[in-house]
Amino acid sequence: MSLEVAIEKQVQGFRLSVEFKADGAPLGLLGSSGSGKTMTLRAIAGLETPDRGRIVLHGRVLFDSEARINVPARARRIGLLFQNFALFPHLSVAENIAFGLRRLAPQERERRVSQQMTAAHLEGMEDRYPATLSGGEQQRVALARALATEPAALLLDEPFSALDTHLRGALERHLRETLARYAGSTVFVSHNLEEAYRVCEDLVVLARGTAAAQGPKEEIFRHPPTLEVARLTGCKNFSRARRAPDGLIEALDWGCRLRVSQPFARPPEYIAIRAHHVRVLPVGEFKAERRENIFPCRLVAMTETPFRVTLDLRIIGNMGGPAESEPASGAEFQIQAEVFKQQWDSFRDVPQPWLVELSPERVFLLPD
């Protein structure tokens, strides 16, 4: 059970060139808008024709530019969940789900429809029309409609983007459960990294038409291969970096020297750390035996969200001495830390400077 894709296509403004393989586990296509992810999905579904390449689904060649094979969308047996769900407004819920089942005997058709209705928790809504459904119900109908045809692959194009935030949690759970039962290959397109992380096992990070990273999700999040991937996966703190004596790395923009546990062969261009990995602690908690990667800092700005606080910190020196290098001045070279409200309340009234810890296990190095 696998979907192999290797395609190229000239799109407005960039050249799409991707190659990946999706097995049983859902594969996430992660990228900002205009990175080519929707185009990739449409090419797999047969709604766009690549300039070159090959698409093979479970050993069946769907597209091969050299062999001049281009199976039309209707014969590909690929289910596509559209961003806006694309339910037929003139058909009832049951008729929508039965749309792709014309060739089946009426009894079998009814069986499949009721099976999907149950699985999607849509009982009793058979005769409703899409316009009377909530966004979440529409999404479940669209998913049921695609699955009813028992497609060999399922493609999901930003399935949550058209929904209110409060609906997403439950629907995402429903989707994950559905995908766990589904035997075919799944490709999930999203610009939301957390969503892609939760739904998928493997990720392909797209940037301007090419895969900037691909592999197991933990690997990509822990060690992004490039600055761009680090940014796309939500990392907020970057500093130019160079090697320093004693096996340390000097973070030029932050103005500090850091121990890094990640082995790194090439000379690093950047050093980075995720905002939620930055620890902030009052000076009183400082222990002399742990002094590496801990620096005094001052709060420059803060942003509050309902459960977290984002702190903009500036490193002002070294433990027991001045900073080795003067930070390049200017607000852009602060370190962003994300802490929970409770934690914030525990040290917000403690006089500054505070301490910021950039743990050696959490900082990572990047080539340019």
Binding site: G46, A86, R102, R128, T132, A146
Partner: protein, 224 residues
């Protein structure tokens, strides 16, 4: 009232509307969904009868369908007689003359169908023809109805083309509008007035139906 002329006009209009529904819809489909860069040429040709004086179209049809030209001779060998001054000739002329009045509303209706719905139908295994009948046509029904009604009404009301191609043969090519012309020419104003009033009321009714149903059709799928 000349019931023979009224019956003839109705027969002609029903035939024209039927033919245009069958022949105009594929043209409209092509015009709407084709990405061919010279598409506008076809669109312009289809729209010609809107701006062309009926006499010009009628003249070319008369000459073209006549025994001296190729299309006329082909048709002659097919039917055994030339088409001008027959009901068949009238039908051909009326279909061409009303073509834009069918194709443009059809096409406007098709335009309103969300492309993603069409693509969704394809990914669910529906052929292009099945997609047309199960998705596109139901969703553009207002345009289809408008096109049929407009071409029907336009045929009832046409005069110039009919006169050029069909002449004025009672029971064969004398339609309602030619009958009015005849009556007025012979000073029979009372009869002309009756028929004219009938046409006026008919036209008003048709347009009322179109505007009334269009508004309903738009909201048909939006609300339960």
């Amino acid at each position: 009232m000349n019931w023979q002329a009224i019956a003839l006009s109705l027969k002609l209009a029903v035939c024209v509307a039927g033919i245009l529904l069958a022949a105009g819809m594929p043209i409209a489909y092509w015009v709407t969904f084709s990405r061919w860069r010279w598409k506008f040429v076809v669109e312009a040709v289809v729209a010609l009868p809107i701006v062309l004086p009926p006499t010009v179209l009628g003249y070319y049809l008369l000459v073209g369908l006549g025994p001296r030209n190729f299309p006329g001779r082909v048709l002659q060998s097919l039917f055994g007689h030339t088409l001008p001054f027959t009901f068949g000739g009238l039908l051909v002329a009326s279909v061409l003359y009303s073509l834009p009045f069918a194709v443009q509303p059809f096409s406007a209706g098709l335009e309103t169908v969300d492309r993603r719905l069409i693509e969704a139908a394809w990914t669910l295994g529906a052929s292009r023809l099945a997609t047309f009948f199960r998705v596109i046509l139901p969703l553009s029904a207002a345009g289809a109805v408008t096109g049929v009604v407009l071409s029907f009404a336009h045929t009832i009301g046409e005069f110039g083309v009919v006169l050029m191609v069909g002449g004025n043969i009672p029971g064969v090519t004398r339609t309602i509008s030619i009958d009015i012309y005849d009556q007025a020419q012979s000073g029979n104003y009372a009869a002309a007035n009756h028929t004219a009033l009938l046409l006026l009321l008919f036209s008003f009714l048709v347009l009322s139906i179109i505007y009334g149903t269009n508004r309903r059709a738009v909201s048909l799928w939006r609300k339960p």
